[in-house]
């Protein structure tokens, strides 16, 4: 009974993660500018991988590969902000007129 419950929760989490990835790819098409598209990608990076990997750990049960899975998503969480920061910096560096795309505010 407990085993079945864990499997159901794992499957639900997995399906939600797949849905998050679907939303991220949809966002890649629905947004019209690079910096906005990057936010959609960040949702997939942070939320989608978290849900999918949690679901898979619950499905697989506790073992060595589950520990490696935790290691994978810790690693992804450490690195995906760095990667998206670098992409954003590159975009702002290379575009000729940033004010056309979004308003700039100084505080």
């Amino acid at each position: 009974m407990v085993h079945n419950l864990v499997t159901v929760i794992g499957l639900a989490s997995l399906l939600f993660g797949v849905f998050v990835f679907f939303t991220a790819v949809l966002g890649l098409y629905r947004f019209d500018y690079v910096l906005n598209r990057m936010h959609a990608a960040a949702v997939g990076d942070a939320l989608g991988i978290f849900c999918i990997l949690i679901g898979l750990i619950l499905l697989h049960g506790w073992s060595l590969s589950a520990a490696k899975t935790i290691l994978i998503f810790l690693f992804l969480w450490l690195t995906s902000p760095v990667a998206s920061h670098l992409i954003a910096e590159m975009e702002v560096c290379t575009i000729s007129n940033i004010k056309k795309e979004c308003e700039v505010e100084e505080r």
Partner: protein
Amino acid sequence: MFILFFALWLLMAGTMTVSTCLWGAAVSGMLCWYCRRTLGYQWQWRRYTIRQLWSAVCYLWNLLLEMLKAGVVVMKLIYTRGRNMEPKLIWFDTTLQSNRSRAVLANSITLTAGTITVEAQNGRFCVHALDASLAENIESCQFQKQLKELEA
């Protein structure tokens, strides 16, 4: 740092025999030496109090909750708004002093979906927000207060 490498090695190897432990100790010692000499990492132990550790745990938990919330908000925006967003680029100053907590703040801002740190130099951050509603109180957010507490 040596302990970190050694734990990673044991996790990768998956077995606990004498030979794996010896090889692991040798390899992680070499990696540690390489990191100190060539990459220039300084790994000194600061003494943490129990209270600081507890506030670090609170910070991580808060980060997780904020991430889930922001993810749901951005997903809703993708479905409802589509093309007519109001993206914004904000420059603001942090009050944090040490480099480490500034880096943690920049990473946390980027990890919560909807806001991305574009530049962070000398305590002046440039943050891109997907919508104006997400950017309203970014310089007085919860992360900064907690990091200040952690820094003290």
